[in-house]
C-alpha cells in the first residue's frame, strides 16, 4: 500500500525533463544525429587546427589533383586544398543556419504571439502577411532579396529569414490561440497582470516545445538555401569558402575534377541529415502524440 502511494507521487528523478531526455536518447537515430552535429560544431570551432593548409593558399603546380593522402578531398583549379576549404566552410554554413533562423525566430515569435494573443484586426493583418510570405518560394524570394541588397553573408541571412519567419509565426499563433483561453491564463488576467507579463511569463513557456522542434528543422533548410545562393554566385563572396561557393567553382571542372563538387555536397547531406534526425526525434520525445 505504502509503495503504491510512493509510486503515485512523482519524485524528482521522474520530472518532465528527465522523461524527455530518456525518450530522446533511447532513440538511436537521435544519437546518430547528435554525433553528426557535434562533429560539425567541432569542425567549425577548430577549423584552423583541423585544416591541412590555409583555405586561401594557392599552389598552382598541384591544381585539380584527385584525392590523395596529401589532399584527402583533392585540390581545386588554384591548387587549394578542398578538405581545408570544407572545414572552414562549416563555419559559414553554421553561422548562416543559426543567424538566419535566429532572425526568423525573433520575427515569428513577435508577430505570432501578437496575432494569437490579441486576435481581431491585428490577427487579420498578420495572417495576411504570413500568407504573402508563404506565397513566395523560399529560394526565389531569397534570390530576389539578394538582387536588391547585394550578396553578403548577412544579407543571405536576411533573405532566408524573409521567407522562413512565416513558419514560426504560424505555429506560435496557433499555440497562443489554444493557450490563451485556458484557465491558468484567465487566472493570471484576473490577478491583474499586464498583457506583456502574461505573454512572456505564462503563455510563452507553454508554447515553446513546437517552436524548438521547428527551429531544428528550419536550420537545415537555411543551410541548403545558403548553399544554393552561394552556388549561384549570390551568396557569400570569395575568398571566404562556403560549401555552395566551392561547388560553384567545381561546376566548371565537373568532368575533370568531380571531387570539388562531390565532397562539399556530401557534407551538406550529412549535416542536413543530422539536423533532421535530431529534429524528428526531438518532436517525438517532446510530443509523443505526433509520433507516427
Amino acid at each position: 500500500m505504502m509503495e503504491e502511494v510512493a509510486q503515485a507521487v512523482p519524485d524528482k528523478s521522474d520530472s518532465g525533463f528527465s522523461e524527455f531526455k530518456r525518450r530522446l536518447f533511447r532513440n538511436r537515430a537521435a544519437i546518430f544525429g547528435v554525433i553528426i552535429l557535434s562533429l560539425m560544431f567541432l569542425c567549425a570551432v577548430f577549423a584552423p587546427w583541423l585544416a591541412l593548409s590555409d583555405y586561401a593558399r594557392q599552389d598552382l603546380p598541384s591544381m585539380l589533383q584527385a584525392p590523395s593522402w596529401g589532399h584527402p578531398f583533392g585540390t581545386d583549379e588554384f591548387g587549394r586544398d578542398i578538405f581545408s576549404r570544407i572545414v572552414y566552410g562549416a563555419r559559414v554554413s553554421l553561422v548562416v543556419g543559426f543567424l538566419a533562423v535566429g532572425i526568423s525566430l525573433a520575427i515569428g515569435l513577435l508577430l505570432g504571439s501578437l496575432a494569437g494573443y490579441f486576435g481581431g484586426f491585428v490577427d487579420h493583418g498578420i495572417c495576411a502577411l504570413i500568407d504573402i510570405a508563404w506565397a513566395f518560394p523560399m529560394t526565389l524570394l531569397a534570390i530576389a532579396i539578394i538582387a536588391i541588397l547585394g550578396p553578403s553573408l548577412f544579407n543571405v541571412c536576411l533573405a532566408i529569414a524573409a521567407s522562413s519567419w512565416a513558419a514560426f509565426a504560424r505555429i506560435v499563433r496557433g499555440q497562443f490561440l489554444s493557450l490563451k483561453s485556458q484557465e491558468f491564463v484567465e487566472a493570471a488576467r484576473i490577478l491583474g497582470f499586464s498583457d506583456g507579463r502574461i505573454i512572456l511569463r505564462h503563455i510563452f513557456p507553454n508554447a515553446i516545445a513546437p517552436v524548438v522542434v521547428l527551429t531544428t528543422l528550419e536550420v537545415p533548410k537555411a543551410i541548403i538555401v545558403e548553399a544554393t545562393l552561394s552556388f549561384l554566385g549570390l551568396g557569400v563572396q570569395p575568398p571566404i569558402p562556403s560549401w555552395g561557393s566551392i561547388m560553384s567553382s567545381g561546376r566548371s571542372f565537373l568532368f575533370e575534377a568531380p571531387w570539388i563538387t562531390l565532397f562539399p555536397g556530401l557534407m551538406i547531406v550529412l549535416v542536413v541529415m543530422g539536423f533532421n534526425l535530431f529534429g524528428d526525434a526531438l518532436r517525438d520525445s517532446l510530443d509523443p502524440r505526433l509520433r507516427n
Binding site: 495576411a128 502577411l129 500568407d131 504573402i132 506565397a135 513566395f136 518560394p137 523560399m138 529560394t139 526565389l140 534570390i143 530576389a144 539578394i146 538582387a147 536588391i148 547585394g150 537545415p220 541548403i224 548553399a227 544554393t228 552556388f231 549561384l232 554566385g233 549570390l234 561547388m247 567545381g250 561546376r251 565537373l254 568532368f255 568531380p258 563538387t261 562531390l262 562539399p264 555536397g265 551538406i268 547531406v269 550529412l270 542536413v272 541529415m273 533532421n276 534526425l277 507516427n292
Partner: protein, 306 residues
Amino acid sequence: MLRYAIKRIFLLIPILLGMTIIVFSMLHLAPGDPIDLVVGPNVTPEVRENIRHQYGLDRPVAIQYVSFVKRLLRGDLGQSILQHKPVAEIILEKFPVTLELGLTSLVISFLIAVPIGIKAAVKRNTVTDYASMSLSLVGMSMPTFWFGLMLLYLFAYKLRLFPISGYGTWRHLFLPALAIGITDAALTARMVRSSMLEVIRQDYIRTAHSKGLSKKAVINRHALKNALIPIITLLGLRIGWIMGGSVVVEIVFTRPGLGRMMVEAILSRDYPVVQGGMVVLTAAIILGNLLADVLYAVVDPRIKLR
C-alpha cells in the same frame, strides 16, 4: 462549390496586392538611381531629368505603384534594359521550358512517392518501412542542384546516356526532371506515409477489416482513396518548391528557362526582367495553390463547411 471557389479567389486579392508591392519595391529599394541602369553616368542632368520624366519616376511613389499595377493588369511587364525587348515577350518564350520541367518533375515525384509512402505505412515498423524512410531522409537532405550535378556527371558524362546540356527532346528533359523529382519525392513519400497511417487508424477501416475483407481489399478500396485526399493539397504546395528547384537546376543543365533568365537578370541588374519573372512565378504558385484548394473541396465536401 462555386461559392467556395469565389470565396477563395477573393481571399487571394490581399496576397496578390502584397506580392505586387514587394515586386514593385524591388526597383526602388535597389541601391543607386534606377536611371543609372538605363543610361551611363556621363549624361547631363537635363537628359537624366528627361528620362526620369519619360519613365514616370518623377511622380509620387504611390502613383507610380498604381500605374505599375495597371500595366500589370494589361499584361505589360515593362522593357528589358539589356535586351531592348518587352519583358512579357521574353517570359512567354521561356515559360514553356520551365513549365515542362516542373510538370515532368511533379509526375516523377508522385510516381515514386505515392507507392513508397503507402507501402511504408502498410508495412509500418518493418524493414521495408525503415529502409524507405531512411532513403527518404537522404533524399530530403540533398541540395537539388548538387544531386543534378552528380546525375550529370554519372549519366551524361561517364555513361553517355543523356546529353550534357541543352533543350528540346525528352532526353534533355529527363535528368533535370529526375533531379527535382527524386529530391521532391523524398519529402512527399513521408507525407503520403503519415496520411496513410492516419487513415488506417479510422473506424471505417476497422469495420472493413472486421467484415472479413482481405487486407489488400481494405487498403486498395477503402484506405487508399481517403489517404490520397490530403495529397492533393500537397500537390499545390509542392509547386512552389518545384519552381524554386527548377531555377537552380536550369542553371546546372543550361536550360533556357525562367530560372536561368532570372539569375542572369539579377547578375546583370536588369530589374524589369527580374520583376517580370517574380510576378509570373509567384502568380503560377498562387494559382496552383488555389487549384489544389478547390480540387480538395471537390473530393472532400467537408472542407466547404469550414
